[in-house]
Every structure is written in C-alpha cells, then in structure tokens.
Symmetry: C2
Subunit: 334 residues, 2 copies
DNA sequence: CCTTATCCATAAATGTTTTCATGGTATTCC
DNA sequence: GGAATACCATGAAAACATTTATGGATAAGG
C-alpha cells in the first residue's frame, strides 16, 4: 500500500495525497476530506524510510549515555525521552561505557544513522584533556549536540547544567554551620563536573577559615553502584583520620557512608552527618532519610529538550544555561 | 557524497560499490581494494535512509517499557540495549506509562517507524482481560514481538520469563522454615506476573498447612518508587493484624517495609523478617541487607536478544523460555 | 478580457539494493 | 584439442516510496 494506491483510489495525484498527509496548504476542504477517507479506509501509513529519504530526517534524536542502568542517568534518559516523545520525536538510546574509543564510535554511529541531533547525558563525555574532546567538535559539524551536565564551548553545542560548584559549597557550608568542621569529602569521578564539586567543598572550608587536609578528600575508585564496597572502602581508611561528617559527591556514595556508619555503630546524624547529591530514590530508602542536593534534573531535561526543539526549528537558542541546585534537608544532618 | 561519486572515482559501477560495502561476494580482490581506498579517502558512509528504503530495515529494534526510570525496568533496558548493540542493532526507546491507550499508540508508532521488532519490557503489557491484548496480536502480524517477563500465546510472539510462582513460593517457604508462620504479603501490581507471585505465596502457606488470611494480603495502591509512602501504608494498617514477616513483591516494597520497621523500632530480622524480589541495588542499600529473589534479569535479557537475532535470521526459535529465580539470602531473614 | 489566486498533476530528486544480462575465463568432457 | 558448460566479475536498470519544484488549468475578481 503506497501513496500511489491512495492517489488512484481517491482520484487525485500523489502530490495531493502528500500535501494532505503533511497538512500543507493548497488543498481544498473537499479534496482533503476525500483523501482522508481513503487513507482511513485503507489504513494507510506512509513508509517511514521513504519519508526519511525525502525529508532527510526521521524525527529521531540520539541519546548517548555511559550507563543507563545508573540511577541518575536512567532518570535523565527517562525525562528526556518523555519530553521528546511529547514533541513528536523518538530517541535512539546508545550506552557507551566510560571508554573514550567507544564514546567516539557510538557518537559517530548515531551521526551516520542520521539522527537529527544527539543529547549527551552526563559530564563524562567531556574530558579535562581538551584534545580528547575533538570527537565532539567533529560531530558538531554535522548536527547540533546537546550536553546535559557538562560545560563545553563550541559552535553548535548547547549545554544545560547545574552549578555543581555552588551547590556543593552550600551543602558543605550547611554542615559547617551546624558546628562540624572535620568533613570528609568522598568522590568517585574526576570529570569536569566531579572536580567542580570538589572545588566547591574546598571553597566552603576556605571561606570558613578551615584548613584543607588532603587525607579528608577521598577518591573511591570502584563502581558506585556497589554499595557494600563503598562501606568497605571507608572502613579500610586509616583509623587516624578523624571526621564527623561526610560530604558525598552522589547519593550512592552517601548511602555507602551510611552503611559504613551503621556497621560501625555510629549514630546518624549525632556521630556522623552525611550529605548526598542528586536526590535520587536512594536518598529516601534509608532511615533517617538522606539530606542531599537536588540538582534539578527534571528542569535540566526539560530545558535541554526545549532548546533542541528550538534549534531544529531554526530558532536562536542560548548556548549555555546554568541552573542552581537546592539543598534538601532530611534526617542525616544536624 | 553518494555511491555515484564513489563509483565514478573508483571507475566502477554503483553495483560494485554496493557489493563492496555490503561484503557481498563476486568482487575481485583488486576491485575491492580500489573501491575501499576511495571510500576511505572520501570518508564516505552510505545514507542510512536510502539503505533503509532499499533493505526495508534500518537494524533498529523498538523497546517498549512503561517507565524507564523504574529501577527494574531501567536495568532491563540497559542489558537489552547493550546486547543489541553488540549485535549491530540499535534501539528506539519508548516509554508508555501504564495506560492502555498509550501502550497501543506507541506500539503502533514503533511498527510504523519500521523497526525490525519490538521488545516489550515488563509484565504490564499483557492484561488479564484478554480482549485488551488484541493490540499485541495486531502488531505481531507485522513484526515479531518479544515479551520480557510476560506469558502470552500468539503466533510471532516470543516470551522470556522467570517462574515467579515458584520463586515466590520458595521464598515464602524459606520464611516458614525459619519458624515464622504469620507472613504479610505486600504487592503493588495485579498484572499476570503480579498475580502469579501472589499464588506462589498462597501455595507455600497451603502446602505447609497454614490457613490463608485475606487481611495478610495487602495491595499497596501507590507508586512503589515512593518509599516513605510504602512505610506509611504499613503504619496505617489495622493494628490488630499481627505478623512477623513480610514477603514483598519487589525490593521497593521491601525497603518500604524496612523503613516502617525502623520507624516502629522493630528489630530486623528478629521481630520482623523481610524478603524482597528482583535483587536490585536497593537490596544492598539497607543494613542489614535485604534477602531477595534474583529473577535472573540479565539471563532473561541475554536470552531474549539471542532469540530476536535468531528470528531475524530466519532461524526457528523456542516461543517460550522460563527461567528459575534464585533466593539470595542476606540479613533480613532468620 | 486580463490578472490573480487557488488548486492540482507531472516530473525530478532523494541514495540505496538487487535482479538480470553480458562478456570473459576456467573447467570438463568427448 | 575443441566444444560445451559453468562460473565469476561487472554494469545497466529497475525498484524502493516519499517530498517538492515547476508549471498548467480553472475560477474569481476587477
């Protein structure tokens, strides 16, 4: 069943059928009605590939993310997909892992699949070593690229991010204000965003006249989805490192910290304050519930899709938008 | 840059270029080398839409799921995407929510987008009211459909599922063997799979000579991602309902139960045993860690993709495969 | 009667895959 | 050794199903 069959049965040309299908003008109400009736009767739908060939688009957006099983990324993907779908776009999901070669490979694959644009979800697509970002610049020559939670200056690249520096600084300050000064910073990522958070922690201490201590900035090298491993990591730390609060770079790490405290018999928040980051489902699974930073994921996703739709409609759009995080006070802080 | 440009520069016909590109036979080594050199030099990649039109396929699989932010479904999507990608397929993700009309709409949309097949992730796509499953039968006339965690007999529909009845029965029996007989069953879904689990619970009781009590089978009507709400639900139950164990239909519900116990000051597992289902990340986030049923998600996903690849290569494949779950004993049971 | 607006049809363009025909080379059989 | 056969590499052309530019026809208005 093709557009020819429809045109024949309706007694019009295929151009007219096409116009009816695409809601273009220059079709009389009568003709439109007649054609629509035939389309309905035949249960005809246009061939998507031929349409794609003619329009050079299939209304498809690529979503690149390192690991869609990660709580945070999964949520981002969910919100983006939802919003795209409401705007009549579908998305091809492609998980790259954290290897640079795979990121290149799959970004290229999406470009070659002729998606209208690619949204790169997560700060890990931008390297601190700028040479490694050339693959982004290359792809941006072909189609617009949107970065969620990353900051990158480049023609045809648009960024939506949360001010992780400020948010972490505020969260850390919140602990300091409660009277606790020896705060362990626990992090898992050295991405641009990861390092910005670390700076926020340092800045909060410095502003409050607290000297920085290297042994209080601990990098957890494992997988942050392995919660017991996080607790074990903290247990294995030098017993001489004393602290009464943990500022964690994400909720997973914070939950690991809580597990550690529970095993050690520490009372939260009296013996140990804990703050997480992301406001994920994990932050409500413990008792007391986790104080955390809401980094406005939903707003970011909403904004990034709005930007994308704008770009695809040839509207001028802001290349960078920065949201502010919000501290959600729950039970793990004083 | 089209196949014509390549053919011209290489001094061959477009048919030969196409043959080289697709690894088809009947091309001399010399010609192949020459053509490949030109392709390389021009950085040529075939137009995906034209290719799709010619082959009536773009190597794309649709993934339908109700809610990809759900821990369990997100994991399923992750494993499936991973495995498909390794087999040179990409996937279009489409979240439907739990409304029947939307499920129909988006399944149709994927079919019209000309995906090679659709994988429906989660038992909620099959209704207990069989008339409501007609949209599945309709779509199956067009392309093969694969169901993860659902059981449905229909030509061109293939199912991979876990024996939820048996698994729940075994888990419940495990509690009974520990000496606890008053077990609350907490569930959130009345899908086919949800009801199978409930039957498993009932069967375990019956087999052990324990009378069924309706008030011990509690349906939680809210969103199982709202953990505090689950705890509140349990708190709101009639205080006269006495029980010393909770068998939950998924880990979220179990974590809610643990929160409830912690608030009430109950000791786990001494005062209250808890078993979850799915072996998700939530099962390791609490202290003690949650005893749960591993329903072989990874194996199911692996199998479903293998089946799909087989079907697309016209190999005869089993229409239904049932895996057995495994009880993971952790700290919330005696 | 001319102009303009409205509407529609023909044809070109999109870029592949694949069938069929052809010419040439190698193999086999007598 | 020559004819028949098979096979292989190649190219021309058809098929895939749309969108859209161009221009022609008809009706309405001045």
């Amino acid at each position: 069943m093709t557009i020819y069959d429809i045109s024949e049965k309706a007694g019009v040309s295929i151009a007219t059928v096409s116009r009816v299908l695409n809601g273009a003008g220059n079709v009389s109400a009568e003709t439109r009605k007649k054609v629509l009736a035939v389309i309905e009767a035949c249960d005809y739908t246009p061939n998507a590939f031929a349409r794609g060939l003619g329009l050079n688009s299939m209304n498809t957006i690529g979503i690149l993310c390192a690991d869609s099983s990660d709580l945070y990324l999964a949520n981002a993907v969910y919100h983006i997909e939802q919003e795209l779908r409401e705007n009549n776009y579908n998305c091809i999901l492609c998980c790259t892992g954290y290897n640079l070669e795979d990121k290149k490979k799959y970004l290229n694959l999406l470009v070659n699949k002729k998606v209208d644009s690619v949204i790169l979800v997560g700060s890990n697509f931008i390297s601190n070593d700028d040479k490694e970002n050339d693959y982004i610049r290359e792809a941006a020559k072909e189609i617009p690229l949107l970065l969620l939670n990353a900051d990158f200056d480049c023609e045809n690249v648009y960024c939506s991010l949360c001010d992780d520096f400020k948010s972490t600084m505020q969260a850390t300050s919140h602990i300091i204000k409660s009277g606790v000064k020896d705060i362990l910073y626990l992090y898992n990522s050295k991405s641009y965003s990861g390092l910005r958070k670390l700076s926020g922690y340092q800045s909060a201490l410095t502003q409050n006249g607290i000297p920085l201590r290297m042994e209080l900035m601990q990098y957890f090298p494992g997988n942050h989805a392995d919660l017991p491993a996080i607790a074990d990591f903290l247990s294995s730390l030098d017993q001489n490192i004393k602290y009464h609060a943990i500022m964690a770079a994400d909720d997973n790490l914070a939950i690991g910290a809580i597990k550690f405290a529970q095993k050690k018999g520490l009372s939260i928040p009296d013996d140990l304050s804990v703050i997480g980051y992301n406001n994920s489902i994990l932050s409500t699974c413990c008792e007391p519930e986790l104080t955390t930073v809401d980094n406005r994921l939903e707003a970011l996703c909403h904004h990034i899709v709005r930007t994308l739709i704008g770009i695809l409609n040839n509207t001028e759009m802001a290349q960078k938008v920065i949201f502010s995080g919000e501290l959600i006070e729950r039970g793990t802080t004083l």
